[in-house]
Symmetry: C2
Subunit: 705 residues, 2 copies
């Protein structure tokens, strides 16, 4: 990827003298900002733009070229690629749009470009993008002439939208974060965000990779990369709603995947997800602060009202307001002896009108032993002109930058221009008390999440009968595995189920029920029965053999009437269990992230809560425990109301085993243990729905007719 960002020489295809020519825009930007390398223009007609000659062929240029930027019509691109191949140019950027998002015919051209690249070891970014930027080298390959280069800093931006690339670059710049490199990936036909992230994670100049995405190209690879790195990563994933997907499709051909899985994957990988523009901006600034290693907070605020706002927000984030030691209070008394300042935390400096004291107060606060973070919220009165404020700000920023704890500065100016003041310091400054406190919460919580993501995994697979399970799956003749096979599958992986037997007829079911003991549940077995309860194919709490037979006959009748094609292959008789909490443990294969496991409260809670915990597989025992700890409504598992606490270790074990089934057997598309009953005596699956890949079931059918 190096040459995409650090080329010694660049050639731009598609340059002309016509007004509005986009190639000229690239030349303008290289020239205007003083790109540190060499650059050339190629066009259909000889000429000159901005003093740079336009060549009609690449052959006219003798220099060795590292990178080509292409702004020619779609139909000409294969030829441009071939020219580049001949000259050994292995990195290209297609900024022009006009591919499959406009016409389906252009798909063939896409394929041709990819084939050329494969043959010659070439890689390209785009199409439909604004290229790459390396601000340290003063390189901007955008086709639209730019006026201002953003502030240099630690962010590395990867974006699926050109407009967002430009906006975020300047936003990060204005907000004191600064940016080192940026790339707009467009349609991601070859190089995608994950390739670029891999490069940014290795690049010592990029401190915080920041991604704007509308869809994932290689979600699982992105996940693994993020977990392997110590750098903080921030993502804005839009397209979270089906309605947006339609636009995204026409925009950069992104497809909507399950956004909840994306959420879980980012969290598990230690990636911070921005939720909206404000939150995203605050997070980018917060990640540029020092990590907050504890919870003891000190607040200095300009007025009582601001202090109350800060404390409200601090309480919401669960911060502990430390009690300042006497030495600090004495120091404050020395700095501002005349005022009736209330010497507590928050320190309300509303009565101190001499702003030259403020930096001393910050310095005194930074000396408090055991303080984990400091919020300094300032509203400057217009008496102090901006030059004065700026001097105070500079001093506070110096103190903040040198401090070992995070210092979040909230800065409001009445009737003045905060933007100019922000611009004048190389440090993030926040706009109000809420953002200031939110930033400290992120500086605390992000690094905990990151540490969790970076924790070494203990992938001790549970003991199981892998071959036995494979043999059971090979018996599937339809996507839905019959109920008795599904239960056997669980048992082969050591997942507890209530005692059960299979009866071929109603009479046999009744007889066998007596052997396992009443009360029992009766369930009809048929490949067509994907929703047994709705089809009337389940009867619970049957007290004797007669009841079993009667229930069985009723089922046969109902299924014959409601679902005539269903062939009842037999009956499953299952011992009814004791009390417990009903849960769902399940899994599926996500198109972006691969196999995932979910845990949720079951039964009636599914409707009321509609919330589950999701993890990408594999999970280790520690993660299974975390899932239980995070379960919405999980307090129910901890007992009370006359129930003993559930055996959480048994539940964690069940989650591990269900996950292992999905990991070991890619043919399983969906797994749904519902309900799982957790109680003091363990965790067991009462029913299972297993969906096998259709191709696999057809192959099974052919092999063993």
């Amino acid at each position: 990827m190096e040459k995409f960002f650090c080329p010694e020489s660049v050639v731009v295809f598609g340059v002309s003298n016509r007004p509005g020519n986009l190639g000229t825009g690239v030349i303008h930007n290289l020239q205007h900002f003083g790109f540190s390398g060499r650059y050339y223009a190629v066009g259909r007609e000889e000429g000159e733009v901005l003093g740079v000659p336009i060549h009609v062929s690449l052959d006219e240029i003798e220099d060795r070229i590292d990178l080509a930027v292409i702004l020619t019509p779609t139909g000409t691109m294969p030829e441009v690629f071939r020219q580049c191949a001949r000259r050994g140019i292995s990195r290209l950027i297609i900024e022009a749009g006009g591919f499959r998002e406009y016409k389906d015919e252009f798909r063939a051209i896409e394929d041709e470009l990819l084939a050329i690249c494969r043959e010659h070891g070439m890689r390209f970014i785009g199409p439909n993008c604004i290229g790459t930027m390396n601000f340290a080298r003063r390189m901007c390959l955008h086709f639209s002439p730019q006026k201002i280069l953003p502030r240099l800093g630690g962010a590395g931006l990867i974006s699926q939208s050109g407009g967002i690339t430009v906006w975020f670059s300047h936003l990060l710049s204005q907000e004191g974060v600064g940016i080192n490199k940026a790339a707009s990936v467009g349609n991601k036909l070859d190089v995608n965000e994950t390739d670029l992230l891999e490069y940014f994670l290795r690049d010592p100049e990029v401190e915080i990779p920041i991604l704007y995405l509308e869809g994932f190209s290689q979600g699982r690879r992105l996940f693994d990369l993020a977990r392997s790195s110590d750098k903080p990563i921030l993502v804005w994933k839009s397209n979270a709603y089906p309605q947006s997907a339609r636009i995204a499709h026409s925009h950069t051909a992104a497809l909507l995947a399950d956004d909840r899985v994306a959420d879980a994957a980012l969290l598990q990988a230690g990636i911070y997800r921005g939720r909206d523009a404000r939150h995203f901006t605050v997070a980018a600034k917060a990640l540029a602060l020092k990590p907050m290693k504890g919870n003891r907070l000190m607040i200095i605020a300009r007025s009582g009202g601001h202090a109350v706002m800060c404390v409200d927000r601090a309480a919401r984030h669960g911060f502990e307001l430390l009690t300042p030691p006497a030495s600090f209070l004495e120091a404050i008394a020395r700095i501002a002896p005349e005022t009736r300042i209330i010497r507590q935390n928050p320190l309300d400096i509303g009565d101190v009108f001499d702003s030259s004291c403020y930096d001393w107060m910050v310095e005194a606060a930074l000396g408090i032993p055991g303080m984990d973070g400091l919020a300094f919220v300032q509203l400057l009165t217009p008496l102090e002109d901006n030059r004065h404020s700026e001097a105070m700000m500079r001093r506070v920023v110096q103190l903040a930058a040198a401090a070992e704890v995070p210092v979040a500065i909230g800065y409001m100016i009445q009737g003045g221009d905060t933007a100019a003041l922000k611009q004048s310091v190389d440090y993030p400054v926040f706009d109000n008390p809420d953002d200031t406190l939110d930033a400290l919460a992120i500086a605390r919580d992000y690094w905990r999440m990151k540490a969790r993501a970076r924790r070494p995994r203990h992938d001790e697979a549970p003991e199981r009968d892998r071959a036995g399970a494979a043999a059971l799956l090979a018996q599937a003749r339809a996507p839905l595995l019959p109920g008795d096979l599904a239960l056997k599958l669980l048992e082969s992986y050591g997942i507890a189920t209530p005692a059960w037997v299979r009866g071929s007829t109603v009479e046999e079911a009744g007889r066998l029920a007596a052997e396992i003991g009443f009360p029992v549940a009766l369930k009809a077995i048929a490949a067509e029965l994907s929703h047994k309860t709705e089809a009337g194919a389940v009867a619970l709490d049957l007290k004797d053999a007669a009841a079993v037979r009667e229930a069985g006959r009723g089922m046969v009748e109902r299924i014959r009437q409601n679902l005539p094609p269903a062939k009842i292959a037999g009956f499953l008789v299952q011992k009814m269990g004791g009390p417990g909490i009903e849960l769902i443990v399940g899994g599926k294969r996500d198109p972006n992230f691969g196999p995932v496991v979910i845990l949720g409260l079951g039964g009636i809670f599914v409707e009321v809560l509609n919330q589950v915990v999701i993890r990408l597989l594999p999970v280790d025992r520690e993660e299974a425990r975390e899932m239980i700890a995070e379960l919405p409504g999980g307090a129910l598992l901890r007992g009370g109301r006359g129930q003993a606490p559930a055996d959480l270790e048994a539940l964690a074990d069940l989650i591990l085993r269900a996950g292992q089934l999905l990991v070991d057997h890619p043919t399983i598309q969906e797994l749904d243990l519902n309900p799982v009953r957790a109680s003091a005596s363990g965790a067991e699956a009462l029913d299972a729905r297993v969906i096998v890949e259709p191709d696999q079931t057809q192959a099974n059918a052919r092999r063993q007719p």
Copy 2:
């Protein structure tokens, strides 16, 4: 209140030549901004500040004075008040602090001031505030010299903090809302926020009252005032967490009340509550837009990425993206014929680089029939200099101001100064796609909420035995009403309960149980039993008389061991009911807002959801229905899973009756019908906890020993 904001003449007490004198600050502000009235200074020593003579006595001033601003030491204030009384000055502002928040002794002075006011018909604002502002009259009574007067506009600000008053005034100004009047209420010793709100609601110059509060002084009056007015009202109520209350107490002596009740009261009164600084700012701007009367939205965005962000946010708010008619698409084709603009909604104008087209597009969009709101999100490239952008903005703002639907403008500028552009137009401009769409959602939802709050109430009280209930309450000897009396109380108000009897002994209970039919529940009756289940004083599902006797004996034993002072007054035998959904219906008296009624899911859901619906009383039938419709997890009431839908009308009726009990009988402090069982056959209370005011129970005890 008029003279607090529109005085013809003002006198400032506490003016001197000493540096940092606060009275001089007031004189400065009156002079600097060119106050349209007359003003005078009074101090201990004769002299002159800023060309204004300092009088040593009020008697030296011959003019009729409308308003006094007081900045003298606490001890001198009674004398100042008396001087003012003699001169017929009936409106005063104490800006100085130094009252009970510093020393308890000052309480006596507070009382003295209030007595003087009562005697002479005077009113005062403060202490501990920065006074009032009337920007149209160029009046600013702040003691801190100000440089810039905020932009004139429709907001009327009432704030419990001086710092916040200043900050918000300038924030509203910068954000294009503008401000007409402001008042900082400080400790609210006499005039409070509700007095000021009442004035602002009548004042034709104030269009949007905006309040920053740390506590309510007369919550119920504020509630009633808000419901009586057509003006939109915005509140930031901080102090939502116990930790903040400590600070607020030292700040302006506010006390924390139950924040959930405040939330419900504001919603019910049609007051918008800001949640944080960004949200509050967006809301203030959104309320200045036209109301959005339908849900059909049109979006014009500068890039595909911005369009996706807009649609994401629109989907989150449930907006419908209308399909633009052919006439609109043709108009766009005429405006920008050369580009590959995708003619849909959102209209992505990323390929249109000529910004002079943008206002035409907005005009074309405003012509779409049936459109309810328009979002116009712009990222200006630096090619277009700010003057050009400003001209385009002005034109778009003109169109927006003249439109019949709300037009939310999101405006981002790369590397430039958005603040200056915002300052140049008298219209709110938003900073990013999220804020732009959030504003439209507020412009839609706020007015629905307002209409609901303004709906005429039908306070048809249900038929009930009010005297009978009063007689039952008069029997209370302890705060907790015995179980049998509580059930009778419910019955007197027509609230259904399962059949029950009272047995004096275990044996009698067993015998009577047979009469009402098994199974039954048995509950011990004792005034000390505030938590029957925990005390082991409840047995459920007893199948015969023997079981009742056995359970009763067990209870006697348990209570004797665990709660020796409890005197068992008898047993309540209650018929067990059928299946249904368990709910809680309750009520209490809020110190700010008076009687409230709550509805929540009961049983195990209390722990899992921890959410209830709250309404201030009285409620009418329509509001009781709304409570049911808003109930978190209320989907359970609508049936499914083999259960018929619950009788919602019966439940609404029960809520009405429970509410009426609280309204009619102020002696009831808490009412807790838990559980209430709602099913297809009705709604009934299975148990009731009624807490009677202790003074009342003591009076009862004295009356009938």
